[in-house]
Assembly symmetry: C2
DNA sequence: TCGCACACGTTATAGCATAACGCAATTGAT
DNA sequence: ATCAATTGCGTTATGCTATAACGTGTGCGA
């Protein structure tokens, strides 16, 4: 997916996520953008929908939050799965890709004739710094 | 985790999930149990918390729903990750385990000194029957 | 000019989850 | 026997997450 020009709201939301050090919930984003004129959740959700569609933002299902893509320039997303390690102490997220995991999962799905469309791989725990 | 005797509410919730053909949301479970005296969401959530703790029920993060474990007798859960293929047409869920995927993910996490505690692997798409 | 697509704003509502209180039964130590 | 701690339960209220439904304005090609 080639990313078209972002609209004003999309840019605001994307910038907030890019500057954040941890994933943010839609409502947290809303609060951060009230000074820029945001008033309602839909303004955030509509922007997020587009950013997700363009692949420049990921949704973390297990914590109802959103992060900017950590590898916006690689085209891994088009042919591979994305995985996340989420620290429950500091909130830091590491986004990673592993083709071996991809292929293994895809093979299994293929063996079941299951047509995959979206995937979620999220590991929660404690990062090196917080586990000490 | 050895599963202790279930309480009345836990049994009711577990039975509903066991009989269901698809994952159920907590509020759907609540509705199904109103005739048995359930009145409030907390009655469901408290039972679910215990059932999740005992490992006899899984939570599907990507669809805010719950399913009975499909392999209650295997002890895979103690040493392996659990994955789900979720059909977005018929709602059917296939629970599966793949040690190769486990090891690969665990190795990566180890290389990052990340201490994993909970994992979520969910693939959404269309099952063989619905993809036709 | 008309029709359409798209972004946007606003209000209201739906859906998911937990806080906080109090009561009752159980257990296990003193 | 008594007390304290634990656990489950019921209820009310609240908070967080997400979408429905309506209307506006703008740009653009037929
Ligand atoms: Zn990414
Ligand atoms: Zn951390
Ligand atoms: Zn299971
Ligand atoms: Zn299906």
């Amino acid at each position: 997916m080639t990313t078209p020009m972002l609209t004003k709201n999309q840019t605001l939301v994307f910038d907030v996520l890019t500057k954040a050090e941890s994933p943010l919930s839609a409502y947290t984003i809303l609060d951060k953008l009230r000074d820029q004129g945001f008033r309602a959740p839909l303004q955030v959700y509509r922007a997020l929908d587009k950013l997700l569609e363009y692949g420049v933002v990921h949704r973390l299902e297990s914590i109802n939050s959103f992060v900017a893509c950590a590898h916006p320039d690689e085209n891994c997303h088009s042919h591979g799965l994305v995985a996340f390690a989420i620290c429950e102490s500091c909130g830091q997220v590491i986004e990673f890709h592993d083709h071996e995991v991809d292929h293994r999962l895809m093979d299994w799905l293929k063996s079941q004739k299951f047509k995959a469309e979206k995937s979620t791989i999220e590991i929660r725990g404690h990062c090196a710094k917080c586990a000490a």
